[in-house]
């Protein structure tokens, strides 16, 4: 499924949209309500929430936005009391389940009927027919390549599989260009867990026995994934277990890496003319995340960001908040902030910075699992896998440890008996 297709659906449903939108008039909800938004802190989210504020703040009694990198940590506590601290939280795949686990976000079906004429069906995140969130942008990990360095090492095409990535890294090292050509987000904890997820999904791994919370990561796919990961980090800087997005982006912009598996959202900041040299930016190519076999599933997790509405607020506040946020999802907003994200909305012109996410989605990468217990699994992986990557234990032992850590936590959280 590619971005163009996603957008075409969007465009079509806008054409079929109601007159309220055709008139080009932002439809805000009931007047005099309080709209309070909690969201992460990056430009694309500011663009959406900011446009909502411009459109509808005048009719609201209060319009506040709290943009914080700690949104995920505080959202459950903030939405639990009645009335909730925020009327809306802007979430991603993983954080939506965290709110749904506690029943803190409400189904949006009736609000979508009333205000969501411009929202295409594929952006409605629905669970058993209940729309729980409205997505507006996509993100995923994918491959970044420096074509000039690859060419110097005698490689004239961008690698498509893990083997090709490894072969390219080997060639670069042997040509004496770089000792550590690969960068990946391997910081112990969430990042190393996520890096495992990518390779695991590329190997066709399943985290759980379907329909249950029983772990199935200590499998052939798990061992293969860990071995691939280990082979990759042989070519990564020795400090890789301390490197997350900011560090890997820094290395890339400093011209100290030639092959990177990083977030798509880092594409635009890397390609812009700040923080790096012309040599780096003009030779950086963004392509699909590598797969195991040629044409296989790309090793990535697809993410969306979208907005939700709290359960514990009055219906009028919920309606006003939904209308305000829905009013921001317009081609004008996208046009004004085109390069801030891979928008899933009408009007998006995919540039070079969006090529990687687009190709990864088109290649059939899996979305980040929306399962209630995935956070516990992710945390267990993040804590236990570094022993293997440091060479202290076997892949099987590391996976068995991760499963044991997960089972202990899942029992405490009530997912397993």
């Amino acid at each position: 499924m590619n971005i163009k297709y996603l957008m075409m659906v969007g465009a079509m449903s806008t054409l079929m949209g109601t007159a309220a939108f055709a008139a080009g008039h932002a439809a805000c909800g009931p007047d005099g309500q309080s709209i309070r938004i909690l969201a992460s802190d990056f430009p694309a989210i500011h663009a959406v929430a900011g446009t909502a504020e411009e459109n509808c703040a005048s009719g609201a009694s209060e319009f506040t936005r709290n943009h914080t990198t700690e949104a995920r940590q505080i959202m459950n506590a903030a939405l639990t009391p009645n009335p909730a601290e925020y009327t809306s939280v802007i979430v991603a795949n993983s954080t939506l389940t965290q709110l749904m686990n506690d029943g803190l976000v409400r189904p949006l079906n009736d609000l979508v009927d009333k205000y969501g004429a411009n929202i295409p069906d594929n952006l409605k995140i629905s669970i058993d027919g209940n729309v729980m969130a409205i997505a507006f942008m996509a993100n995923s990990q994918h491959l970044f390549s420096r074509t000039d360095i690859l060419a110097k090492a005698g490689i004239d095409s961008v690698p498509g599989t893990y083997d090709e990535v490894l072969a390219a890294a080997k060639a670069i090292r042997e040509a004496g260009i770089m000792e550590y050509p690969i960068v990946m987000n391997m910081k112990t904890g969430w990042n190393v867990g996520e890096s495992f997820n990518l390779v695991f999904l590329a190997h066709g791994g399943e985290f759980f026995k379907p329909g249950t919370a029983e772990p199935t990561i200590n499998s052939e796919a798990g061992v293969a994934a860990l071995n691939t990961l280990k082979a990759l980090v042989e070519y990564a800087h020795p400090d890789h277990l301390t490197q997350a997005s900011n560090e890997t982006q820094g290395l890339w912009e400093a011209g100290e890496a030639a092959l990177g598996i990083m977030w798509g959202s880092r594409g635009a900041p890397i390609l812009d003319d700040e923080g790096s040299t012309e040599e780096v930016t003009s030779n950086t190519v963004l392509s699909a995340a590598p797969s195991v076999e040629p044409g296989g599933v790309p090793g990535a997790t697809l993410w969306w960001d979208g907005f939700t509405i709290s359960t514990n607020v009055s219906d009028a506040e919920a309606e006003a908040t939904f209308a305000a946020l829905a009013s921001a999802l317009t081609p004008e907003m996208v046009a004004a902030n085109n390069d801030d994200a891979v928008w899933l909305l009408e009007g998006f012109k995919p540039g070079a910075a969006a090529a990687g996410v687009s190709a990864t989605a088109q290649g059939g990468a899996a979305p980040y699992p929306m399962l209630p217990q995935i956070g516990l699994m992710h945390n267990a992986l993040g804590a236990e896998l570094t022993d293997f990557l440091q060479g202290n234990e076997s892949a099987e032992k590391a996976l068995a440890d991760a499963e044991a850590a997960y089972v202990t936590a899942a029992k405490e959280a009530g997912f397993l008996k």
């Binding site: 669970i127 058993d128 996509a138 329909g211 899996a366 992710h378 850590a405 009530g414």
Partner: protein, 343 residues
Amino acid sequence: MKHRTFFWFILPTLSAMILFIALPIVSVFVQSLFVGHEQVLVVSESCGPFGCKESTKIDLEATEKLREEAPLGKFNGAGTYLNRSHLAFAEIGVAWAETETWGEFWSVVGDLPFYRALAFTLTYTAVVTPLVILLGLAIALGVNALPKLFKGPSIFISLLPFLVTPLVGSLILFWMVDSDGVIGATIQLIFDDPNLSLKASAALTWTMLIVYGVWHTLPFSFITFYAGLQTVPDDILEAAKVDGASKWESTLHVVVPHLMPLVSFVTLMLLMDNFRVFEPIVSFSAEAHARSLSWIIYNDLRESGNPLYGSAGATSMLTIIGVVILLTPVLIRTWRDFNRKAH
């Protein structure tokens, strides 16, 4: 003092301590005995921009019902204390039965999260505490011997590490030891090894954390000892001089014994602080090589989406027990000193 008067004097402090120290500990203890309710999972279909997928979700109504019946959770007794994330007696039993040598046995135990964290926490405490006391005393003696003009500035400079917020201080040091940073690059130059990285090896990471710990807490012991030095009676020192004691001898036999009560106090404070080592691990991104008990609590509460209160509570209680065990010898000593002086 009459018991009655004493009671009225102590009452405000006592009630504040009960309210802010004892009750929270009791609450944490109670929480550590419970685990979450069973989460009723149902198969569902979730759709989004990337297509539809068979998935599972929590049956909120069924789960809510369980929650209402017992708001604290499911009683688990000491179960959480004994599970793999904590004391792991079952896993240790298996390791004991299945391993041949001590080395193998300890490597299995060292791989369990609690013992791994305990190993680092104890090492850190055992190395940092004496180093800070000895170096603090040395610096205090040195500064005390300086001419008056230099005393003020040297005290100020010696106090600087303490003024920096731990998180910020360790972040700065973290960037300095980066292979592109000033310390990291210098070390690479000295050892002529362009691939030497302080962050990549467990031994060097431990060393780095310990050096940071010493650097950061040194001013505390320095300033305490320096204050103590101002109370050393001059006449005793002069008497020692008259008796022919060298400077070193009078330091060892007059000054140090005079400072002993302070040494007990500093040891107490340092043991408690060092056993709770946490910030440097986070800001040095040292989790791959070094984890402490406090880091486990943080990880349980923060990283998994749903906070594991029971698990965090159990680790907290075990940390408190650890601190009590460590402090006991020092407390016994202080108690004896006190009794000796009282009678």
